[in-house]
């Protein structure tokens, strides 16, 4: 009836909770383990575990008729990938597309980001950032199919180029590079924009005071300071392009890229081990790219 009776049953619970918190307070490792076990479980089991399972599967083979995986270690998949010239061709083409998209995005993003960070008014800058971020909300497929419509016979692109006496790229490798450049542009633009925002205006002014023209200021001041940002953006555009298989089926015409070989072997061929072996190529390409970037020192501040 009184408040005292109400609090009595709660007292032991309170002290038990207190005991737990005291215990945790005195045992840092237990606390840390409790906090980290779930994320670690995710990282090790779900994330790295599935990757490891895939890499192991690359050394297996399948029953040709039923498509069942045969757990027998063999290097046949890799032998096939290395000896068949078509896979070399596809791999080189994929690297070319990834490099092309990265260069185009960098060339577009640099002046755009510079305008946004250094020239535009505060209000215009906010509007531009919104304009660049908004397409990221739209579905990837919608954007790819929009390009399919624009690149079609008599579509927007050929209509625009017609007065200039030029023809559109149609559905081709060129169309793939254009579409991917569009899709991944924000991933290049935003790091460069962030990098430029951190670049003090005073450095540009000082350079001008010393008599440097715009190009020289860009080459000697802006580019070296922006280099890590460009590299960060290029990691996105390069890896996203290397892993893409949808855009190429939508606007690529008859071309195929490395990711299509992986995808086709899973869905059409039902050959998971071969697909896993083929997946070594983008992994190795990305690791090589990251190592090359690390040597330049661009990752030191990350």
């Amino acid at each position: 009836m009184t408040t005292a009776t109400a609090t009595v049953p709660r007292a032991p619970a309170q002290s038990r909770g207190h005991a737990v918190s005291t215990f945790l307070h005195h045992h840092v490792w237990v606390r840390l383990a409790a906090l980290l076990s779930l994320p670690m479980l995710w990282l090790v089991v779900a994330y790295l575990g599935s990757l490891a399972a895939m890499l192991v599967a690359a050394f297996w083979t399948t029953n040709a008729f039923t498509g069942a995986v045969v757990h027998q270690t063999t290097l046949d998949n890799f032998h096939e990938l290395v000896t068949q010239s078509v896979y070399r061709k596809v791999a080189l083409r994929s690297l070319g597309v990834a490099a092309g998209v990265t260069v185009i995005d960098a060339l577009i993003a640099l002046p755009m980001a510079f305008y946004m960070a250094k020239v535009a008014s505060r209000r215009a800058r906010q509007l531009l950032v919104v304009a660049i971020l908004t397409p990221l909300w739209a579905s990837y497929l919608v954007k790819a199919y929009a390009w399919r419509v624009m690149l079609a016979n008599g579509g927007l692109v050929s209509w625009l180029l017609h007065p200039l006496g030029m023809k559109g790229p149609g559905y081709s490798l060129g169309a793939v590079i254009i579409t991917l450049s569009y899709l991944w542009l924000p991933f290049m633009l935003l790091p460069i924009f962030a990098g430029l925002e951190r670049l003090p205006d005073s450095l540009l002014e000082a350079s001008a005071d010393q008599g440097a023209r715009a190009w020289r200021t860009f080459r000697a001041i802006v580019l070296p300071l922006l280099f890590p940002a460009i590299v960060a953006g290029s990691i996105f555009t390069f890896s996203l392009s290397l892993g893409d298989y949808i855009t190429v089926t939508v606007v690529g015409g008859t071309t195929q890229l490395a990711a299509n070989v992986i995808y086709d072997n899973i869905t059409t061929g039902g050959n998971l081990p071969f697909a896993a072996a083929a997946a070594f190529f983008p992994i190795i390409a990305m690791l090589a790219y990251l190592l090359a970037v690390r040597r330049t020192g661009a990752l030191d501040n990350v």
């Binding site: 008729f65 039923t66 498509g67 068949q84 078509v86 061709k89 079609a152 086709d264 039902g270 050959n271």
Partner: protein, 401 residues
């Protein structure tokens, strides 16, 4: 995931001799390997259909289990649910291979499998034989679809036939003149329609090239477009590589082909009747689709029940429902294929439908070369000298370059 019993290639081949000799014509049988033991896993067959279990999990082609979401007037799932109390959950399989993968998970009760998936499912132990006496509508299924090599083993049906169709040659009547009569129109390296030719994006399309070679290069000795030895496969790949130079794009998703024809990005290529109908309905371009003089490849679909179905009664009820005259007519009209149910022809909204699709025409049906899984043991009975589907898959990658 259920695992296969370990069987040697020879045992498989031996089983296939038994399974396929019926259709293969002159089966030499000599190269079939020593083992005569059938490799078909023993899966028990249902003996009666009880009350529904309340649920049904299907793997099917798009358009086979419509519940009114795509088109309000197209709905045979809700009436089924009302009649049987079985709630349908359908999972679309985009390719035969995807369907085989999905059935291997063991989570589904049944599948609408094409001929290039059925045997893999039967020999893989993923599907059970079907007791046709428990499916009343089976009695009036077109006789020429019963006990065929792709849906039965030793005269034991492994499913209920659903419908079939041919892969046709379609062209834009304005751009392509004169009207083609042969598949040669898409296999001509100097085609005037270079860059606007389209082809089906799947290794199974190699059969279309080998069918063409079978008619025009008799010295290659191709007897069955799905039974190619290495030399014959190389010839088909050569033809397709030449074709590749003229192809604007390949299609696998049928909406993509509709759009490519309507924008005139493609003007000639292989198609399904349903695609030609959709383009005709849109009235943006005028197209015509025919079966060329060489004949055609095609598909024949069968509803199969999973070996370890959790809702077998509902699946039996579904197999009977989907092949009933009214529903089979609806599906056939929506998808654009010949219904397997002979009585369906009386229920189509377009009374000429069955004639258009040659639904009762056995001779026409027999002239088609239905999608079948190529195996090392030749389907035409030559022995173990043929190329299997994984080799076709590699070859297809090679063709696309």
């Amino acid at each position: 995931m259920s695992r296969l019993p370990r069987t040697t290639g020879a045992a498989f081949a031996g089983a296939l001799v038994l399974a396929l000799s019926a259709c293969g014509g002159s089966s030499s049988g000599g190269g079939g390997g020593g083992s005569a033991a059938p490799a078909v896993p023993k899966i028990p067959m249902a003996t009666q259909v009880g009350a529904g279990e309340g649920e049904l999990d299907l793997v099917n082609w798009a358009g086979y289990a419509e519940d009114g979401t795509n088109d309000k007037s197209v709905d045979w799932v809700h009436p089924f649910q009302k009649a049987t109390g079985c709630i349908v959950h359908d999972k679309i399989g985009n390719t035969s291979d995807e369907m085989v993968q999905l059935m291997k998970t063991g989570q589904y009760d049944g599948v609408s499998a094409s001929g290039d998936a059925t045997l893999r499912l039967i020999y893989g132990g993923q599907v059970a034989p079907v007791n046709t006496s428990l499916v009343p509508n089976y009695a009036t299924i077109q006789p020429f679809l019963k006990d065929r090599s792709w849906n039965s083993v030793d005269n034991q049906m492994y499913g209920i036939p659903h419908g079939w169709g041919a892969n046709l040659l379609m062209w834009n009547t304005k751009s392509v003149t004169p009207a083609p009569t042969s598949w040669g129109a898409v296999f001509d390296a100097n085609s005037p329609y270079k860059g606007k030719v389209t082809a089906y994006d799947s290794p199974i399309y190699i059969a279309d090239a080998s069918l063409y070679l079978m008619r025009h290069k008799p010295d290659l000795g191709i007897k069955d477009p799905y039974a190619l030895d290495q030399k014959q496969l190389d010839a088909a790949v050569g033809l397709l590589k030449d074709q590749h130079k003229t192809v604007g794009e390949y299609w696998a998703d049928y909406t993509k082909e509709v759009q490519a024809f309507e924008s005139s990005n493609s003007v000639i290529g292989t198609t399904w009747q349903v695609i030609a109908n959709l383009i005709a309905a849109d009235k943006k371009v005028s197209v015509k689709a025919i079966e060329p003089s060489e004949g055609s490849t095609g598909w024949s679909d069968t509803w199969m029940i999973a070996a370890h179905a959790k809702h077998p009664n509902c699946m039996y009820k579904w197999m009977n429902w989907i092949t009933s005259p009214e529903v089979n007519a609806q599906v056939a009209e929506w998808f654009g294929e010949a219904p397997a149910q002979s009585l369906a022809c009386e229920h189509t909204s377009d009374k000429t439908f069955c004639d258009q699709y040659h639904a009762a025409d056995k001779a026409y049906s027999d002239s088609l070369f239905y999608w079948t899984t190529p195996t090392k043991h030749c389907l035409d009975g030559r022995g173990n000298v043929c190329t299997d589907y994984s080799q076709w898959t590699q070859a297809w990658t090679n063709i696309k370059g």
